[in-house]
Structure formats: structure tokens, C-alpha cells
Symmetry: none
Subunit: 291 residues, 2 copies
Amino acid sequence: MPIDAVSRIRRFNRAVTAEVGALDTSFLGRGRPLGAARVLNAIGHGRGEVGALRDYLGLDSGLMSRLLRGLEEEGLVVTLPHPGDARRRVAALTEAGRREFAAYEALSNAQASSLVERFPRAEELLRAMDLVATALGRERIAVEECDPRSEAAVHCLTEYYAELGRRLATGFDVALSRDPEAADMMRPRGAFLVALSDGRPIGCVGLKGKGGERAEIKRLWVCPSARGLGLARRLMKAAEDAARNLAITTLRLDSNSALTEALQLYRRTGWVEIDRFNDDPYPDFFFEKRL
Amino acid sequence: MPIDAVSRIRRFNRAVTAEVGALDTSFLGRGRPLGAARVLNAIGHGRGEVGALRDYLGLDSGLMSRLLRGLEEEGLVVTLPHPGDARRRVAALTEAGRREFAAYEALSNAQASSLVERFPRAEELLRAMDLVATALGRERIAVEECDPRSEAAVHCLTEYYAELGRRLATGFDVALSRDPEAADMMRPRGAFLVALSDGRPIGCVGLKGKGGERAEIKRLWVCPSARGLGLARRLMKAAEDAARNLAITTLRLDSNSALTEALQLYRRTGWVEIDRFNDDPYPDFFFEKRL
DNA sequence: CGGATTGTCTGACTTAGGTCAGCGACATGC
DNA sequence: GCATGTCGCTGACCTAAGTCAGACAATCCG
């Protein structure tokens, strides 16, 4: 490791520590200790169960309990017994709690906005931040099954189509491609998987089934800032696992010779080239894999 | 501000908070509270005077004193009276303190290395981190008045002349240009301003006066890595403020048509083109601004 | 010289954050 | 139905961090 790289990273650390510190102190601006503010925000972001809260925030159960009690006394939170297990408790925001949460969200958003607004090369900066966040959050990328019509999935698909348009010599027209029914990419026929880094969708893949033993892999996409991290491979593996889980034995996919990284990945992970199996105008490579 | 940009920044914040947290706890790995570790590191980085330490770390004088006492008891630090002013004290590392400081440095470096090593696209990541650090550190760029013969000023001027040499079709020969006397760019006749990022000079501008109501702007330069951040504009504004402060009412400057960004800046900030007012061989554009 | 100011230190106090043992209510497996 | 484990809560306790008033010595300025 060249010493120069170390000094660059340490400069980054210093810059970022100052910025994060500023965010923390802005949270303190609402007259509540940071711990309580973090709990309030976690609940606002949908983490209701006390156990889940503890894990997420890395707090001791006693401390967690006290913080919740404090928020309850402020009238921001109520805790109710868990419907299925009366030992557990679930915290929820009251009306006042929702207002307070919204105020914190507004603070966060304003801080984020001001950062970009006061920097002239905003898009460049955002791309750099994406890359750094992905690199730092690499161990925390989650692959999850979701509805292909969900917001996260639609985001990925939009990016995917846009990229095809740029990369295929012929351009790409969504209307001309066989757009699978959402139901074909959901249980029980198939599945749709997104990769989430801290909740932000950064990749996807679809498993399109018809109910039989054969299914197709569709819409494999990884966002540019997350490439080179083995995420495509991980998504493909997750899709294969989902296929096995659905008792599917043969997978197929079509692709285009312009997508060289994808073709390389398929060849390296046990896919074999086969004859054309559809008359879609865009693909010119066809693969199969037996599970 | 599109909501998407906000979510990207907030994702970055979360990723970086986790990483910074990991850095903090690694500092705790040496059995010393974070505050004491920070003081030790600041001293190791050459900040000896107690007052300077307090400012840098943002600590109360009582707390600072106690932390120093603790480090003294551990045998890592000695504090001596300041040679010129016996009220002040200067802290220095003992041999054991230097060893401990080296251990902290090694931890920081290892953490930085591991980040890059576990990410396949290292150079790209480093560039992204540089950009983010520059963007975040923008507010911490200080514009200060200094002697035009000081080290920082000379560094900037050397870079400035080198760049003129590259950009002017005719080349540039320092000897042929009217090199103003240092005294013309110092109080009470004028001023010389440098921009410092983390103590490193990254830009400059000179205000050259003769004692009357008219002065000239000279030597506006911004280092390439800091361009696009509005630093030139900020330097010019600081120079104008200094001029007003010196009761100067009319500013002039000469420039060259090869320096397009500079010409654009002048036109946008209230400068008007005037006739040639000197016979210097390099400039071919002349501007004036009334304050 | 004498009063004001500066720089540091000390003691008393507060708050935030965190740990730990044990309790009571509930759940689970045999 | 009982032993065992799980979940959250409580009280007692601890450390780190920070605040504040005042003490004390050195310095500065008129």
C-alpha cells in the first residue's frame, strides 16, 4: 500500500469526521440527547420491535429501556405488547412523535441539500459519494426478494433500460421487448431480487417462471458505482437459490454481445451457450444452466 | 433539490458514520478514552502549546488540563513552561509517548489500508474520496493575509508563474514582468492574501497599492485541484474588502486572453474593460472596478 | 508601580452513556 | 405441568465528557 493512498484516506477521514460531527450536533439542536434522538429516528424508520432496535443501535437492553421510557414520558412514543408474543414489546410513534420525527428528517434533508447546493459540481460529488458509500457499505449489502412493481425494483429497471439504450448499437425500446408480467417474477412462479445498500437499490435480477421446471433469468443489472464488487455474481447466485427453492431445474437467459461483462460472468459460472430460443430483436446470445 | 440526491447523501452519511465509528473504537483499543487519545495525537502532530491544543480540539480549559495531567501521570507527556511567556505551557511527548503515538498512527494507517485493500477499484475510490474531502473541506478553507515573501506566498507565486509559462503562447519570463515590491502588497499600501486548506496554501491574490485611492489586483491563482469551488471569487472578494478597508476606491487589473476562466470571472463580478494602462508585454486585457 | 488581563490549573458539579445482576412475565419443549 | 429459557424492565453503579467559578502566577500597559 503506497503511503500516499493512506494519507489521502486519512485526509478523507478528517474531512468527514468534521461533517458527521456537524450532523450530530445539529441533532442535538432539538434539546434531546443523541441517544434518544437515534431511537426516535429508528422507530420512525419502521423499526418498532424493542429487540430489533437494540440490535440496530447496538445498545444494552437496560439503556434501551430507559431511553424508551424517556421518550414515553415526553409523549412521543407508546410501547405495546407484541401481538404474537407477550414478552416482546413494540414501540410506535404518537402523533407528537411523528411530528418530532418529521422535524429530524427535515434537519437531515436540509443538511444533505445544503452540502450539494454549496458545491458547484453536484452530480460529480454525488457519484463520488455513491462510490465511497458502496465501498464502505460493501459488507452491508443485502439481497432481498421484492415485488417487481415496488419502488426499488422500478428504479433498477428504469436504470437498466436506460443503460441498454446507451449500450446497444440499435438503441433499446422497452415496448419492443417482451416485458414479462409481474406475476411471472413473483412467488409462486418466479422471483424478483434487489440488492440494497443501506436501503438504496443498487442492483437487481428477475427470475421469470411459468410454473414449470424451467425459468428464465431477466433484468440483471448492477448500478455503475457498485460494479467490480462481485455483486452481479451474488445476485445470480441468489436467483439460482430462489429457483432451486421453487423446484426449477433448468434456467435460461438471453443477452447481447455488447454486454461483455455479463457474458463473461455467465461463461464463468456454469452457463452454456445454446441456440436462440425466442424471437426478441435485441438478444444475440442465449445460455442455459441446469441446477 | 431532487429527493434522490438527498437520499444518496444520507446513505453516504450512514456508511461513513459506521466507518468513522469503527475508527473511534479502534482508538479505544489501546485502553485510553477517546479524549486522551485525541490529545496525544494532536501533540504528536506537532501541536504543543496548550492553548493551540484547546482550540484545535475544541475543549474547555479545565478538561484540557485534566487530560494533560492524566497523560503526564501515564508518563507519555511532559509539559514545560513556554520559553517566551511563562504563563503558557507547552506539552511534548516523552519517549514512551512517542511510542504510543506511533502505535496510534499505525492503527490509523492500517485502518486506511484495509479499506482500500478490500475494495478492488482502489484508485477510483481514492479519487472519489479526494473529491468528497475537497467538497466537505471547502468551508474550512481559510483566506488569510500574509507577507508576500512568506513561504506560503512564495509557493503560490512559483506555481502561478509556472502555470503562466505553460498557458501563455509566448511563454512567461518572470524577469520581463513588472514584479511589484513586496511593500506595495503589504499594509499600509496593499495586501497579499493566501487561501489555506488544512494549512496548505492552495490559492492567492495580491492587492498592490501606492498609497493613493487606486490599487491593482495582481497574481490571482488557485491550485488546479481546488478549482470549480468558487475560490477565485472568494479571493477576489477578500481583496476588494481589504481595498475598501484601505480606503481604496478604484481597482484595476491586467490579464491575458488565454486565461479565459479569469476573464469570465471579472466580467461577472462587476469589472469593466478599459484601455491599456501599462506597457507590460504579457497582458492584453485591462479591467477596472469602482468600489 | 499598580491594576487589568491572560493562561493555566483545581475543585465541585452535571449530563450522557453504558454495564451488570436480578426480577417478573411469558414461552417452549419434554 | 414443570424446568428452562427468553424478553424487557429496574436499580445500583461506573466512566467519560463537559461546565463553571475561582485561585494563582505571569504579563502588559498606562
